[in-house]
Amino acid sequence: MIFFFVSTLVMYAIAGVQYGVRYAVKKWYPLPTEEFTDLCSVTNISVMIFDDSYGGYYIHGRSPYGYTEISSENLLKSL
């Protein structure tokens, strides 16, 4: 019993550290979810995902410029 507790604690600690590191470096290596929302912005597409009988999730993918075709410089600025 004590072994299970200790091993679980150690594994959760390792996972927690991994999570922390991943979030610390996300500025340079964005999370896939962030990349997806950026992609929605760039393409000017909003997404609605319904996962139950009342609602779900909404990704507001409106491009900051209102249209998709902008210069790379402006695109980089807006991201």
């Binding site: 072994f3 299970f4 091993s7 679980t8 594994m11 959760y12 996972a15 999570y19 999370l31 896939p32 979810t33 962030e34 929302t37 929605c40 912005s41 909003s46 609605m48 995902i49 319904f50 996962d51 139950d52 009988s53 009342y54 609602g55 779900g56 999730y57 909404y58 990704i59 507001h60 993918g61 409106r62």
Partner: protein
Amino acid sequence: MSPDDPSLQTYQIYIPLELFRTYRTTYVQELNLTVNEALQKNQALSGAASKFFSRDNAIPKGLDIDRTESTRKIMNKLFMRCIEQVRAEPKKYIKERPFIDRLFNRPPIDDLKKERPVLFKDKWYSFSNFFLMGMDWDFVMLDSCILSFVIQVSLYDVELDIKLLLGLLVAYITDQGLFFIRNWRGRRNLARHTLVDDKFLF
């Protein structure tokens, strides 16, 4: 969209019940009918097990998607109107979700009864749960259980010196197998629900 957090793009949304009912009874029903007809034409495999292991395309061949186009456009406009309503008065419709509601995943009943949309800020990208990406802690618990199980079982073998390594190996192999199934089934599921061929998913 939110004035106090302009860069926030992700929200949890609850749309008016009437709109949701319209969506279910018109668009989803019509879409299901079209997909089922295409499936029947292709004489798809009927058994659940054979469907699970099927290597056919997730979208049935010969799907006449144009049939649903007019309904799709109408629903798209209704949803856009709903979002424009929120954009016009964000302070009224965008809210912070109470802790208890978040804990029990309780919908905002009062607002839904008044037939108005509600958006909750979702700073932690909880939509990723829908893509089966939020199961990290479940996998850690599974690994821990496998590790303990293997060590308990191997305790009977006194000569075995690599109990911990064996447990880790079994946990690793199980994880990899589950990742493969999740990836494979997830792609097919996504393709079937978005009606985008899984060759275009990356």
